[in-house]
Symmetry: C2
Subunit: 113 residues, 2 copies
DNA sequence: CCCTCGTTTCGATGGATGTCGATACGAGAC
DNA sequence: GTCTCGTATCGACATCCATCGAAACGAGGG
């Protein structure tokens, strides 16, 4: 806050502290290379879903680490988990992903589509 | 990797390790509530840019902390910095933001627009 | 040249996080 | 019931990160 005003006062930020906290939590779950690869593996799977059993080797991490990452993605609402027999299957929540993408779209930004 | 196959082999993930690393780096710079609020403050400013001098009070953090966050956003390419006289002004790189948003758009996801 | 003031950088610190091996849990097979 | 095997949880550890105060840097103004 300069003695001589250097600029017009800011309009109130669009993002409330709570909204910022919520969005940051989801983005934090995305902000890891291993989780991004897991997500893309599930998203691009032919059947739209994937068995957890194949993921450790796919991302070259231990089984416990992969399980940990999958839990974070599920907690963030980006992935859905379904137990089928003794195997766990995961699929992407397309709406949640679209929500994040659109949250990042700035108010004044013209669509590039 | 189960003894009896539980599912068809995965198609190769779309995201390479390098791509995942790069995207994660940008997302990491977004995955903080303070940085999200800073970004929204700059993005919604009437003039499209903002003087750094007003930001510490706007996000209720020390001036050095705000400078640190701004540097991260600049390093990620999401913000541009311009020194004007003794004040630093910041504006959003709309193209970079759009890139991140579209990177999160899944291949098969139908547009909701 | 010195003083002021906005900004960045430095050093320190407490807390979060990615990773693993080991263990516990659960469901099917025998 | 017991054995097997896929998965989740636990405990530990090294690293990263947000935050602050203090110090350094830089540009104007006197």
């Amino acid at each position: 806050m300069p003695a001589t005003p250097c600029c017009p006062p800011l309009a109130g930020g669009v993002l409330s502290t709570d909204d910022a906290e919520r969005l940051a939590a989801v983005l934090k779950s995305l902000a890891d290379p291993v989780r991004l690869r897991l997500l893309s593996l599930v998203a691009t799977a032919a059947a739209g879903e994937v068995c957890a059993c194949d993921l450790p080797q796919a991302v070259d991490r231990s089984q416990s680490t992969v399980s940990h990452h999958l839990s974070q993605l599920v907690d963030a609402g980006l992935l859905h988990r379904e137990q089928r027999g003794k195997w766990a299957w995961f699929r992407v929540d397309d709406a949640a992903m679209a929500d994040v993408a659109s949250a990042l779209r700035l108010p004044g930004t013209r669509s590039t589509i």
